[in-house]
């Protein structure tokens, strides 16, 4: 399989993630979009690992790391979103703007 296929796929995935992060109002959706971006990176890592035929499979190892970090991150992120919802009855991040001037 040529390298270009997974790269183009990852680029679409990443762009979808960026769109989601920037445009969605729902905090849960924003978190999911971040997952999309991370997974786009994972696709790249694995693709390049295969392409370069690395003996140490460091691409795959890093992908595993990213998955672990993403799990932790989404765990904390969802906890925060839950607390915000309990306090303010909303998960619309436009309304969560306490840290401003």
């Amino acid at each position: 399989m040529p390298l270009i296929y997974p790269l183009v796929f990852a680029a679409f995935l990443f762009s979808a993630g960026v769109y989601g992060v920037l445009a969605r109002r729902n905090a849960v959706m924003v978190l999911m979009s971040i997952e999309l971006m991370l997974n786009a990176v994972n696709v790249n890592l694995v693709a390049f690992n295969a392409y370069l035929q690395d003996q140490l499979v460091s691409g795959q190892v890093f992908a595993l790391f990213v998955i672990a970090v993403a799990a932790a991150e989404v765990g904390i992120g969802l906890a925060i979103v839950l607390l915000i919802f309990r306090n303010r009855e909303t998960v619309n991040i436009d309304e969560v703007d306490l840290l401003r001037w």
């Binding site: 992060v21 920037l22 924003v30 991040i93 969560v96 703007d97 840290l99 401003r100 001037w101």
Partner: protein
Amino acid sequence: MEKLAWLVPALPLVAWAVLLLVGRRLPGGGAAVGILAVAVGWVISLAILFGVIGGADAYHVSTEWTPIGAGFEIPFGMTVDGLAAVLLVVVTTVSLLVQLYSVSYMRGDERYTFFFAKLSLFTAGMLIVVLADNLLLMLFGWEVMGVCSYFLIGHYWEDVANARAAVKAFLTTRVGDLGFMAGIFVFAWAARSFEIERIIEGVATGEISSTTVTLGAALLFCGAIGKSGQFPLHTWLPDAMAGPTPVSALIHAATMVAAGVFLVARMYPVFEASGSVLNEIGILASITMLIAALLALVQDDIKRVLAYSTVSQLAYMMAALSVGGYSAGIFHLFTHAFFKALLFLAAGAIIHAVHSNNMSEMGGLARAMPVTFGTFLVGALALAGIAPLAGFWSKDEILTDAWNAGFAGAGEAATSQSVAQIVFVTGMVTAFLTALYVGRMLWLTFGAAFRGQGHPHEADAAMLFPLVVLAVGAALAGFAGLGDNSIGTWIATEHLPAHGPATLNLGLIVVTTVVALTGLAIGTALYRRGLPEREYLERVPVVWKTLQRKFFLDDLYEQGIVRAVAGALAPATYWFDQRAVDGVVNGAGLGTRRLARGLRYVQSGQAQWYAAALFIGVVGLAVVVTQLIGG
């Protein structure tokens, strides 16, 4: 022994630190620390001087202090030659005796320990000047002395007049110091080094142009004018008498004020290369010695008489240097240190006894204070130049040099003959005036009947001991200048060969002795019966007023300089500081606040805006990086 010379200034410096830190808790207020430090230095100094007398070569050690590039370096080192050895002995001797004397004199003083700490620091500063092999180190010691002088004059700062005198002394000498600093930079620039030896080499080989030499020497001499109380900056020295008497003896008679003379002597080959500067020194010294001697005639305060006398005698040394009398000038510095320190310390004993500085409240003390009287008499006659006391020999050598340069045409210096003639004539007149005011001072203090309150009594042994030692010095120091192996040989250097034993001109000796005796006789005739109803000079109102107002110099400085500074310059700089300097500082703060007031809306709290900015930034960076590196 020369290798240990660094200990001489280092020990008082350590003593200063010890006194400042723990002095108050030491037994006896810590005075012993300062005395011990300088006593060890005194022993080393004597050993060095005897080495020099035995024919030891100059010892020079130097290390690089700070490299500043461009082939320029700041050295740090010392030169132990004959000149330094003589000065080391003078400084440590006087400092040791003054500190011994102060143990009793300053007893019960509120700032007793601090006083000794300052004396130690001062001694260290002076010794650094003496040993310095380069002008920057010398300037360092020079300023240490200046600040100690300031502190010590203002020792009794509770009295505002004393604090003002301290400020006056500090600022007036600072005027000269500016010139000194400029002179240092002129020579350092021209010789590419701060080292005195290199500068002298440069002048000798003609590497430094004669214009530069004249400019630099004149500027250096400004420093000497300030420090050594020469006209027109002499006005601070009489006011400096506000300090305790031991301070006057140490700083304002024997050592610090002689530093200016020492500076000229240390750089003498440079001064010798410039006739116009030597002429300038000769003229200024002549003016100084004359007006100071005249002013000494009308003072009531005994310390002020001695202060003006010091100014006048320092001018003698300068005059000697100006007519090529290198060894005569240093010889006079050497003898003067003994007899003037003696006179001040004896005056201190008198002041202690009668509780007044004024001679109008003294009189008849010869019977009450026989030892003080005896020692004071030795010092006073040495000052007046009566053979065979110290002052006679050195004063005579100076006048001989002036005569040779002015009239005999045998002068070796570049001074013009007419200047040497002026120096000789004023020197003679000053010798007469000196004897006159010495006679006046002696009779007003010790003669006739006591005019003050209470019953004066002799000082205690701790104060009398230094007096006796100094009296022996004042009587015998003159013999250091006689014979083949005399002071002139000790201080000779490669650039300043010894002239051999001083040639005593018999005719001149007779004339100076007659002049001195005449002065003393007139003083005796006028003041034998104590203070006259009206001072004799008071009968000539113009002269009296001029002398009382100190030739109007203080008025001139007060009305001219002080008023200009306080009236216009100070408000202008205040305005500049408040508006311009503070304006920049405050403006920076205010500008930041104004900017922040606008910029803070960027901080909207909208996380997605931040993310968008982040993405745009990353993309922008990526474009830049790929275009620059990939392109």
